[in-house]
């Protein structure tokens, strides 16, 4: 991937942050932890609020609007935040900050912060697919072999068959994971249908092979399973219930 110039390093004071426009026009947030620079998406994934208006203490970034928080190092959500931040690989050359965009796997809610070698093994497993609007990825009863990571676009879910269906949510953020029955035991078949609503790019990953990779690195496997259980709970439970 090609490097893009974002800003001069000297523009960002220690423990400070600033919204910058990268080459090509993308708006990004640059933060300086004092010893290192980090670049993440400029706008809060919750409600279109510029993150540069929030708080940054050198480690934790807080959006001032509803107090969503992230670890600036990984982009991982903290506290009440429901979605990670898209994070960019940073290089500093001659006092200038450059970024490389991250793949969807690295941005995603399941895999941020796991060991580098596990991430590259999973990346090698991922098949990139492009689907046009209207494409059906799976239907109830289909084998649940693969799970998907959304890179761009929008995917909608329906429960039920034929005329008797009801919407069961939708995915629209880079890095969101669906079809996760493929990562569960004793869940061989789909219980919903997944339909692409607008042109979308997906990573398709075989569940069994991914589990084999995670079993070989139990620390990373534990992180992924912990996140997966939190993700499933979001679709089941009323949060706030103590």
């Amino acid at each position: 991937m090609s490097k893009k110039l974002v800003c001069r390093a000297a523009d960002i004071p220690p423990n400070g942050m600033k919204e910058c426009t990268a080459e090509g026009g993308q708006k990004l947030l640059v933060a300086n932890s004092g010893s290192e620079y980090f670049v993440v998406q400029a706008i809060c994934p919750h409600q279109e609020v510029p993150l540069c208006e929030g708080l940054f203490d050198g480690t934790v970034l807080t959006c001032h609007q509803h107090l969503w928080q992230w670890d600036i190092r990984s982009g991982a959500p903290m506290g009440i935040a429901e979605a990670p931040l898209e994070r960019f690989d940073v290089t500093v050359e001659d006092g200038a900050i450059f970024v490389d965009a991250q793949g969807a796997l690295n941005v995603g809610e399941l895999f941020t912060g796991i060991a580098e070698r596990v991430l590259s093994a999973l990346t090698a497993l991922a098949k990139r697919e492009e689907h046009a609007a209207g494409a059906v990825l799976y239907r109830p009863g289909d084998p649940a072999d693969d799970f998907f990571v959304l890179d761009s676009g929008r995917v909608e879910f329906q429960i039920g068959r034929d005329e008797r269906t009801s919407p069961a949510g939708f995915m629209l953020k880079k890095g969101e994971v669906f079809g996760w029955a493929a990562l569960l035991e004793n869940q061989p078949n789909r219980i919903a249908s997944a339909r692409v609503l607008e042109k979308s790019v997906l990573l398709r990953i075989n569940g069994k092979q991914a589990l084999t990779i995670l079993e070989a690195d139990p620390a990373s496997g534990y992180v992924v399973m912990r996140r997966l259980s939190a993700l499933i709970a979001r679709f089941l439970a009323a949060p706030g219930a103590k």
Binding site: Q47, L55, H64, M78, G79, A168, F235, A238, P239, G240
Partner: protein
Amino acid sequence: MRIQVNARNRAYQFDALPGEKILYAGLRAEIDLPNECGTGTCGTCKARLISGSIEDGWPQAPGKKFLKGKDEFLMCQCVAQSDLDVEVASFVYATDPGACQLRALSGRIASTRSLTHDVIAIEVALDAPCDFDAGQFMVVSAPGVPGMRGYSMVNFDRQTKRVEFVIKKKPGGGFSEWLFSDKAAGAQIELLGPMGKATFYPSLAKNILCIAGGTGIAGMMSILSRACQERYFEQFKGDVYFGARTMKDMFYLDELSAFCTEFPQQLRIVIALSDEDVPAAAVQRYPRLRFERGLVHEVAKAGMQGRYQNVRAYVAGPPPAVEAAIRVLLLEAKLTTDSIRYDKFS
């Protein structure tokens, strides 16, 4: 009208009454649609119209600056004109079991009482009893008066037919000017509520910290009232910081003093005056209260050092005061976001 809301996790269906705002129809059906101010300002309740037609009750609502596409709208301001399919780009769940359910209420302004030169308390006699949680608010409107405003309840009682609100006079604020006029006393008003998540339950089992600027004290009074009724401060500490410009802008000091008298060891109430030195007469008159000069978040920052263990913080007041206090709580006190509850009025 039948309304279907497609959320990130699932879809919900509910019915709206003729003229009923979509947000309130959903909350009434015990679906916790995204919302915060309920009065067109914060933009939290934005949704996308997929099919059907709506009428926008307030096309100039300030919260519309958060809308992106032409098909987006504020659920708190719009009424369905046909069956609707709408989309909300967040996870939506049923309201917590046991939470007080939002209803349309009506009542009469039984009395108004001047608290300062620009703040009054109004007492509303409701036509039917209602329940709310300490720290919640209601959206109030009067027939023939433009606008709806959210006001926190000051009192706390179960199945009460009486609610008390604190109102600050806002020049040009249609509703507050009407309340300050002689037409308000005895007038019939409409209320929607309760709403708001900055609530206190005794099962919290934590020390509580309240930081309030101006009329932001209203919800804190309800929280303190409930905590005192349940003798919460026999087990847990309470720290209250209440700020205003001068003593002329201060109110409820007798009531706050009375709370302190009940729990002199565990409940500490500090009055922060930003624009004048603490008058000796105030200290003499309210020996139970502490007085400091300074902005309320700075006084709280100085007074709370080393006292943040096992704390739930409540913050309310004008937006700059709330943001400054939250900054202190996150950056200085290192509280986690889930231990902060706040109400921002704009």
